[in-house]
């Protein structure tokens, strides 16, 4: 859950006209992202990042930051394009007006070094997406997308009191065409797109296991799942039998609750679901990716699910420490309940690589580690971390 709060950055917030707030977000679009995938493949990506209002700098992420607003908010998003090509933001599903729709042909392209401000009212709760709509087949596939969440009538409600939850998890499904993400300037015929990497929140395969995308809950928790598919193909989420799952909304609109143990989500669709554990268990939500051109199964990802028997107890509360982001690239932020704290960095064979001591919540520089899987031992807590 920390990941979501970490990504949600609302720079300015004040009440306007007594109906929600004006919330401002400062984004930059850039084309300089670099990433090492779980198998060691180096890629480049394009995307959006939050602009630091002090330094004017931004670092893009894959996917872009999750933007969260409350029902009735006026969202004002300033996009500064610091890349060499034009971009936009299309607010997928938010039914904004033409000027804010983010389509170059009918709205406005944001040319290099230009600034554009989007503004709209968040009038319907739900799960939405945003993405670039310039040469969309390429720009979107290069990583220019993210989630938008509009909260319900009250905190911890998807919509109203009938859709209350105690824990919330968001999953944005996407794909990556390796040849484009290694050589975007010569993408070749766009129709020959292939989904080489299949992602959940920008991660795939074993990265997911080590990331903080695990669903961790107590057996008395009520879980909210927000699922969105920005890929070219469809995804099929197969829920563990120990979870009772109801789809309660799709595309930001309520539906008659529909029990589901297997939900296919087509490109552009979003679903909001309420899940109740039937017992304590450890399992996975399997996500199948399907090429719509001939219904071929492209592959699968597993989202780990851990439901403990202790009411409301999660591994976050079991742990006295926390580490994020995970995966990381240069450094990790470490918080511990006790200081000074000794931190051991171990490789995947258990060999001690380095020992550090921190006296307060700290950013720990791990840039000298090679890309791969490591363990961090902080007191009695052990965290698996993945360096990209």
């Amino acid at each position: 859950m920390k990941r979501f709060f970490f990504y949600i950055i609302l720079v300015s917030c004040f009440h306007a006209n007594g109906q929600g707030s004006l919330k401002e977000v400062f984004l930059q679009s850039k084309m300089d992202g670099e990433l090492t995938l779980f198998d060691g493949t180096e890629i480049v990506f394009w995307g959006y990042g939050i602009e630091n209002q002090t330094t004017g700098m931004a670092k893009i992420s894959l996917p872009g930051p999750t933007l969260r607003f409350d029902l009735g908010d006026t969202a004002r998003i300033q996009l500064r394009n610091t890349s060499p090509e034009a971009h936009t933001i299309h607010w997928h599903g938010l039914d904004v007006d033409q000027a804010n729709d983010g389509v170059g042909h009918t709205s406005s392209n944001v040319i290099p070094n230009a600034l554009f401000t989007y503004e709209f009212v968040c009038s319907e709760p739900g799960t939405y997406m945003y993405h670039c709509h310039v040469l969309t087949p390429l720009h979107l596939a290069m990583g220019m997308y993210g989630l938008v969440i509009v909260g319900g009538e009250a905190p911890e409600q998807l919509y109203d009191s009938t859709t209350k939850y105690t824990k919330e998890f968001s999953f944005l499904f996407s794909e990556m065409n390796l040849s484009w993400n290694t050589n975007p300037l010569s993408p070749g015929p766009f129709a020959l797109y292939e989904a080489d990497y299949l992602m959940v929140n920008g991660m795939s395969d074993q990265e997911l296991e080590f990331s903080d995308n695990t669903v961790v809950a107590g057996e008395n928790d009520t879980l909210a799942f927000r699922m969105a598919n920005i890929g070219y193909g469809s995804v099929r989420a197969i829920f563990p039998p120990e979870l009772e799952v109801y789809a309660v909304a799709s595309d930001g609109r309520r539906i008659i609750p529909m029990e589901t143990n297997e939900l296919e989500i087509f490109p552009g669709e979003r679903f909001d679901l309420i899940a109740s554990p039937l017992q304590a268990f450890e399992g996975v939500i399997t996500v199948d990716y399907i090429d719509l051109r001939n219904n071929n199964l492209l592959g699968s990802n597993d989202i780990p699910v851990i439901v403990t028997s202790t009411v409301g107890l999660t591994n976050e509360t079991l742990s006295t420490s926390s580490v994020y982001p995970n995966p990381f690239t240069e450094s990790v932020h470490i918080e511990s309940e006790q200081y000074p704290a000794t931190i051991d960095v171990l490789d995947n064979t258990g060999k001690l690589l380095k020992r550090l001591t921190v006296t307060s919540a700290s950013e720990v520089d791990l840039h000298d580690l090679a890309k791969g899987l490591y363990s961090l031992r902080i007191g009695t807590d052990i965290f698996k971390i993945f360096k990209r």
């Binding site: 033409q98 729709d101 389509v103 969309t136 129709a191 490109p267 001939n294």
Partner: protein, 287 residues
């Protein structure tokens, strides 16, 4: 007197013939001709099949309108050089139609919605032959006939070399109503209306893969579907149209504007590697 009698008899006979003619004309059925031909868009040529209202081939399939809960009658004529197996939307068994043959079709009734008369024969099914029946749809209405194919494969299907999609299927022609140009405001695919209008959109996917459609600017309500009954009543901006599915949407625009609507499997928004093109069109909503 005899001449006068013959004259009266002839006049009466003429009137009877005229009455029969009027009656026949009143109940004349539309004829759906199965046509197949080579066509091209820009420099890309391909084979296409369609049900047209005459023997002149057009890429777009014909649309027939009927009231709800009444006898539906039309004629299907095979103007192709091969037999076609024709499937009706009433669940009856398909019938085979030889070249140059025709058959009167009677369907006792269909409920409100959008349905298709489709060819099950490879040369028809894979090349997009599917007439669109709209039942009980009145007022401001539009129809989308969706189709996609790989131009090279169209010739293989056309000459019978293949009868199924290959394991690796990479279509490059994605069309709505036989066109691929979203900027062509004269296209029958473009939706026009005003804020507050009740606009009905009928869709038939005559293609060979699921087409996930996304509306900008608006949500639409799924009023009817031949393959997704569990989603009827849902208000969506993104939704799939399954292969050979008939679907009816209702759009009541809450705001004016020009917005695209397109396939969100983004390979479908290209034609000849040009973007935006393919399975994409426009919504033009006046204040």
């Amino acid at each position: 007197m005899v001449a006068q009698g013959i004259k009266i008899y002839l006049v009466r006979f003429y009137l009877i013939l005229l009455s029969i003619g009027i009656i026949v004309c009143s109940y004349a059925q539309d004829t759906l001709y199965i046509n197949r031909d080579t066509t091209s868009i820009a420099s890309i040529s391909f084979q296409k099949a369609a049900f047209n209202l005459d023997t002149n081939f057009q890429r777009r399939n014909a649309v027939l309108d009927f009231p709800e809960n009444t006898l539906i009658e039309f004629v299907v004529a095979n103007n192709d050089t091969i037999p076609h197996e024709v499937m009706l939307p009433d669940g009856s068994s398909p019938f085979l139609l030889q070249p140059n043959a025709y058959q009167l079709v009677q369907i006792s009734s269909l409920p409100y919605g959008t349905f298709a008369v489709q060819s099950l024969t490879s040369q028809g099914a894979f090349l997009g032959a599917g007439a669109i029946l709209r039942v009980g749809i009145t007022g401001i209405s539009f129809t989308w006939d969706l189709w996609e194919q790989d131009p090279t494969l169209t010739y293989d299907f056309g000459n019978g070399t293949i009868t199924a999609l290959p394991a690796v299927y990479r279509p490059t022609v994605f069309s709505i109503n036989g066109g691929v140009d979203p900027m062509d405001m004269m296209s029958s695919a473009v939706i026009t209306g005003s804020v507050g209008d009740t606009i009905t959109i009928s869709i038939v996917n005559n293609g060979n893969m699921i087409q996930p459609i996304h509306f900008h600017g608006y949500h639409v309500e799924l009023m009817q579907s031949t393959q997704q009954p569990s989603r009827i009543g849902w208000k969506k901006d993104s939704f799939p149209v399954f292969v050979k599915e008939g679907m009816t949407l209702q759009l009541i625009p809450h705001q004016p504007g020009e917005f695209p609507v397109h396939n969100h499997n983004l390979v479908a928004t290209l034609f000849n590697n040009s973007y935006p093109s393919g399975m994409i069109t426009m919504l033009m909503i006046m204040p």
